[in-house]
């Protein structure tokens, strides 16, 4: 049975939902009804995705579900939807996690006056993102790409009355515009060289194209990917994007949109693989982002900014996976990361509401006792991110790191292992500070800051646990389950995607059985070694963080906390302090305080300021004096005339 038309429902239903909600909000329809409408639209899109995936499975390994929509006047330029291994995998996560986050938002945003507007924009995002991943060529992908940018801009700036939110939205817009220009230029080079922009035309040919063309295309596409996926050095917009509502951070700036760059690289993998500079550049960007993100996360005190840098770091792992040719592993990590990072952000939302909007983790603590539900879900999310077996993150991260070793890049492998240790450290620090120890009220009481404050806090109900509403609980539970069992899903493979067959034919077949056997052998030993190392660094990193920031940590002032922790520790602590903490703190501090705002941020702000300055300059020329206009005209005439007389 052919159900190709189901594809159109995946972007179509959320778009319809967005339009209906926007219209309904105008007509002052019931708020809850509009929210339900938004959730239903995305749920139905998810159902359609599942059906498409089933149909794809029936056609696999070499079939795919295709639906052309229309074509423009230029040959090879058109739009259609394609359901194959990669795109249905992405679409499943986008609509599935998207639906869960819609549900959560229905509770989380309930008090916001612009509640329906929020759902309209969120639905619009799902539409744009599914166009991005389901497009059958670079044209559709660009359309989706631009529209997720718009959705992201709108949602970061959702609370537009906050100047910080407006500034963050603007920054995200400009960085992504830079990336889009790269992508468009890449598409143009492809159109010129391959005469088409459909994946099915371009990617099979890519294996045979001249190297300089491939290099140019790969680097231009990578520029787009880096901007959208917040990778080094265009990551600066992501931490600021946390000014948006927390569900937005979870959906767009953690689970789905920021992985669009990974999608692009995996989708266009024949180009990156055939281009001499392609994969190394991707891997370099990936490992750089892994380490930078992890170090920067160490220096952050805002719960959402820690998670934002963590996202950058984890997307770096995906990029690294793609860069060493472990595409399946990158796709796999995308899915598991979507589960546990969405879980963590939603959990962070619960935490932030609990502390009355406070986002500074140094001022938190003791949540484990009063909120066991939040405690356990967040713990599982954290452990999944750290990569403890048998949770989801273990399998996917391990697959990427093993892939680096198998690709013959031991340096990348070693750095990736270091990154895993850092990950464990910053995540356990976050967890320990928020959930263990004493709650701020108790701490204040113990410090003797007066029972009155504590009483006032208790009175306000801040300390008492309000039960988590079921609408928030269901997504958290589902995501927790997914974070636990996500690792057992089958890894996606690339058979049947455009360009794969030609690539497989090109690759030299294994010479003999022994080579294959040897490969399997090394693979298994590499995997064992990697697993052991990853577990070791994770446990060490996590353990250090727990010891440093865990329940027995001293009161919250930084200096005394540090001294007391050192005093309570064994000689190991001294060692750790001298060898590990100081350089690390210095590095993290440097990365966070110096590089971050001054170098890269400065460059981005510089571009915006340059545009404003130029704009001001050209408008000042428009002075209103007609005689100056005449003078400009005459000057132009003189230049043109002199050119013609002298040069022609």
């Amino acid at each position: 049975m052919e159900y190709n038309w189901l594809l159109i429902l995946i972007p179509g239903l959320p778009l319809l939902g967005a339009a209906l909600i926007a219209a309904g909000a105008q007509g002052r329809w019931n708020r809850s009804f509009l929210a339900a409408l938004g959730c239903t639209a995305v749920f139905l899109a998810f159902v359609a995705t599942v059906l498409v995936r089933l149909q794809y499975n029936a056609a696999a390994p070499f079939g795919s579900v295709h639906m052309p929509l229309w074509s423009w006047g230029v040959d090879g330029v058109g739009l259609g939807l394609l359901g194959d291994s990669i795109s249905t995998w992405f679409a499943l996560v986008v609509t599935g996690v998207g639906f869960l986050i819609h549900l959560y938002s229905a509770a989380y945003m309930a008090d916001d006056p612009s509640y329906p507007r929020f759902f309209a924009k969120l639905n619009f995002f799902i539409f744009a993102m599914s166009v991005l991943v389901l497009a059958d060529g670079f044209v559709g992908m660009l359309i989706g790409w631009a529209n997720v940018g718009v959705a992201s801009y709108l949602l970061i700036g959702f609370w537009h009355a906050r100047p910080a939110a407006a500034a963050a939205a603007k920054k995200a817009y400009w960085v992504n515009t830079v990336g889009e220009i790269g992508l468009i230029l890449g598409a143009i080079v492809m159109l010129q060289h391959f005469g088409s922009l459909y994946f099915a035309d371009v990617l099979p040919q890519a294996w045979f194209a001249p190297q300089n063309v491939l290099n140019a295309v790969a680097l231009l596409l990578l520029a787009g990917a880096v901007a959208k996926s917040a990778q080094l050095p265009l990551h600066v917009w992501l931490p600021d994007a946390m000014q948006g509502p927390t569900p937005v951070s979870a959906l767009i700036h953690a689970a789905t949109m920021v992985t669009a760059g990974v999608y692009l690289v995996v989708r266009a993998y024949p180009i990156f693989e055939a281009a001499p500079w392609g994969l190394p550049a991707v891997a370099l960007v990936g490992i750089g982002s892994v380490l930078f993100g992890a170090l920067a996360a160490l220096g952050q005190n805002d719960i959402k900014r820690v998670l934002a840098f963590s996202t950058m770091s984890q997307v770096g792992y995906m990029m690294l996976g793609a860069g060493v040719g472990a595409y399946s592993a990158a796709l796999f990590h995308f899915a598991t990361h979507a589960f546990f990072k969405a879980l963590l952000f939603l959990g962070a939302g619960v935490v932030i509401h609990r502390f009355g909007g406070e986002q500074d983790i140094r001022k938190m603590g003791g949540l484990g006792k009063s909120h066991p539900f939040a405690y356990w879900t967040f713990l599982i999310g954290t452990l999944a991110l750290v990569g403890l077996p048998p949770l989801a993150g273990f399998y996917s991260k391990d697959a990427i790191v093993v892939g680096a070793l198998m690709a013959g890049r031991p340096w990348l492998w070693a750095l990736a292992v270091v990154g895993a240790g850092l990950t464990a450290f910053y995540m356990m620090r976050l967890f320990a500070l928020v959930f263990t120890g004493d709650s701020p009220e108790v701490a204040a009481f113990q410090r003797g800051e007066g029972a009155r404050q504590a009483a006032a806090a208790a009175e306000a109900g801040v300390g008492r646990s309000r039960p988590v509403p079921p609408l928030k609980m269901v997504p958290l539970v589902v995501l927790t389950l997914l974070s636990i069992v996500g690792g057992f899903f089958a890894m996606p493979d690339l058979s049947g995607v455009p360009g794969a067959a030609e690539g497989a034919r090109l690759a030299a077949p294994p010479a003999h059985e022994a080579a294959v056997a040897g490969r399997v052998l090394t693979e298994s030993s590499a995997a064992t070694l990697t697993i052991a190392l990853l577990l070791a660094v994770s446990v060490i990193g996590g353990g250090l963080a727990l010891q440093r920031f865990g329940p027995k940590r001293a009161p919250q002032t930084a200096e005394s906390g540090f001294v007391k922790a050192a005093g309570a520790g064994f000689y190991f602590d001294d060692f750790y302090r001298a060898v590990f903490v100081r350089p690390l703190r210095a590095t993290a501090g440097f990365v966070g305080d110096v590089t971050e705002p001054h170098v890269i941020d400065g460059a981005v702000n510089g571009v915006a300021r340059l545009a404003a300055t130029l704009s001001g300059a050209v408008r000042r020329v428009q002075s209103g004096y007609v005689r100056r206009y005449a003078l400009a005209l005459m000057a132009g005439v003189a230049v043109v005339l002199i050119y013609f007389v002298l040069m022609v």
Binding site: V74, I188, L614, Q622, V640, V648
Partner: protein
């Protein structure tokens, strides 16, 4: 001697010109109470009759180009396509102007029709003489149209500035023509083409071409000859501004293409040198236009800068002197017309309902007050930004594809950068309309804006019942939306009709 055949060939022009004259007479001979419906009826009828003749002419030119008056007027696919283009624009402007509060509109309508006739002739000019006269016919009409509401001080100022600079530019154009005449001894474009193909080009001819290019660049508002455009656009009523933006651009581009096709020397190296200044002007226009639009709060000024940017885009196939490239320009011209007419029609409708309409800040909260208007405004501005599936995207893609074929990589790169910059300018307009009122401004401006919003059109006296005016504006808006979408989704239809507008050089 001109005979009946010649008049047959230019029948659309005769109809349009006669319409322009009859409008005035109709106003004189009808009682005051009926004058307004009558004049509007006559104007609309003139456009429709002309459309019938244009359709006829379109059939006739499929076989090949026709010439009239010893080659002075060339009726080919380009000139007929342009005539159709101008008729849509003129009819829309006539419908939009019904919202005008002025009581006596016959002069206005007559100037619109005669202006459209002048523009049509400009696109069909086969001789320098016809080129000059038709250029002046519609320019003089536009000066008067801008100053039509003479009680507004900005209308007087804008018209005066445009007039002064336009006359200077015409002086350069004339002097250029005179030099070219001196070099070649002919005034017909066919004669110039022979001279340009023959080889030996005199320095006099270089200088003449330079000055003539300046004349065209002024009408197209290319940087640095653009200074009049923002002031004149802001000064006029939205209907006139739309006519000026769309009509002038179409006619001047067609004339420039025809002129360049004939007058640029055939030696490829020399041709490249001849086109280089235009390429520089196009690049400057694309960049300066989009940058100037970036923080512009007056929508008419913003659309003026957008027009400057678009003139740069539209020039690309002409600069490349590409065989069959003109169809890309004309295709995007149609798209630009629908988007621009739509945007100005929204502004007109807003002003008719007592809003300020053309001010970005005054449009805040439009989504709450008038959701349909806000939606339409967003549609047209997003289309200009290149949002799919509209003509704004398709047209740009076609230009990019064509430009790459012709090897104009630098121009295409500029187009992309400029599109990215101006997308932000357009997005600002959209976001302002969807922002709750008062979110982005301080108390003082809010107080200043307060009396503007909320009128429903009944407070100001209007010579007509507002229902008729709404129908007219509705027709324009629906046409503009349909056109913008149709060209975006089914570009093939128009594109294949525009095959072979100009013969290969």
């Amino acid at each position: 001697m001109p005979g009946i055949t010649d008049l047959n060939i230019i029948a659309p022009l005769v109809a349009l010109t006669a319409g322009g004259l009859v409008v005035i007479v109709a106003d004189l001979v009808t009682p005051r109470r009926l004058a307004r419906p009558w004049t509007y009826g006559v104007a609309a009828a003139a456009v429709l009759v002309t459309a019938w003749y244009v359709a006829d002419a379109w059939q006739a030119v499929q076989a090949g180009p026709l010439t009239a008056f010893a080659g002075a007027v060339v009726v080919d696919k380009l000139s007929v396509a342009l005539a159709g283009f101008l008729l849509v624009a003129a009819l829309s402007v006539v419908l939009m102007s019904a919202a005008d509060r002025e009581r006596d509109m016959s002069g206005f309508l007559s100037l619109i029709l005669l202006g459209a006739a002048g523009m049509t002739v400009l696109g069909a000019a086969g001789s320098l003489m016809v080129l000059f006269v038709s250029l002046e016919v519609f320019s003089l009409g536009l000066y008067a149209l801008i100053a039509f509401h003479r009680e507004r001080s900005e209308a007087r100022e804008g018209a005066f500035k445009y007039f002064l600079l336009g006359s200077v530019a015409s002086g350069f154009l004339l002097y250029g023509f005179a030099l070219m005449y001196g070099a070649t001894g002919t005034l017909s474009l066919a004669g110039l083409a022979e001279y340009a193909a023959a080889g030996a080009i005199s320095p006099l001819y270089h200088g003449g071409f330079a000055l003539a290019v300046v004349g065209f660049a002024f009408k197209l508002a290319l940087v640095p000859f653009h200074m009049w455009a923002p002031d004149a656009y802001q000064a006029a009523t939205p209907a006139v501004t739309a006519f000026m933006a769309v009509g002038t651009k179409g006619a001047a581009l067609a004339a420039l293409a025809r002129f360049a096709w004939a007058a640029v020397p055939h030696d490829p190296q020399l041709a490249g040198k001849y086109m280089a200044p235009l390429a520089v002007l196009a690049v400057l226009s694309m960049l300066a236009g989009s940058l100037s639009a970036l923080f512009q709060n007056n929508l008419k000024r913003l659309l003026a800068y957008s027009g400057i940017t678009h003139a740069g885009y539209l020039l690309i196939p002409i600069i490349a002197l590409q065989d069959n490239g003109m169809r890309l320009t004309v295709f995007y011209l149609f798209g630009y017309m629908f988007m621009t007419l739509g945007a100005f029609a929204v502004i007109t409708a807003l002003q008719f309902r007592g809003e300020q309409g053309d001010d970005l800040l005054a449009n805040e909260g439009l989504w709450q007050r008038r959701p349909w208007m806000a939606g339409l405004l967003a549609f047209f501005f997003l289309a200009m930004a290149g949002m799919p599936p509209t003509a704004g995207l398709t047209g740009k893609l076609l230009l990019i594809g064509g430009g790459l074929q012709a090897g104009a990589g630098g121009l295409i790169a500029t187009l992309i950068v400029s599109t990215a910059i101006s997308a932000y300018a357009y997005l600002r307009v959209v976001l302002a309309a969807f922002r709750p009122a008062g979110a982005g401004r301080d108390e003082a401006t809010a107080a200043a804006m307060a009396p503007m919003g909320g009128g429903d059109g009944t407070d100001a006296p209007s010579p007509w019942s507002s229902a008729w005016i709404d129908v007219g504006l509705g027709v324009v808006l629906v046409t503009a939306v349909a056109g913008t979408l149709a060209l975006g989704v089914f570009p093939e239809t128009l594109l294949s009709a525009l095959e072979g507008l100009l013969p290969p050089r």
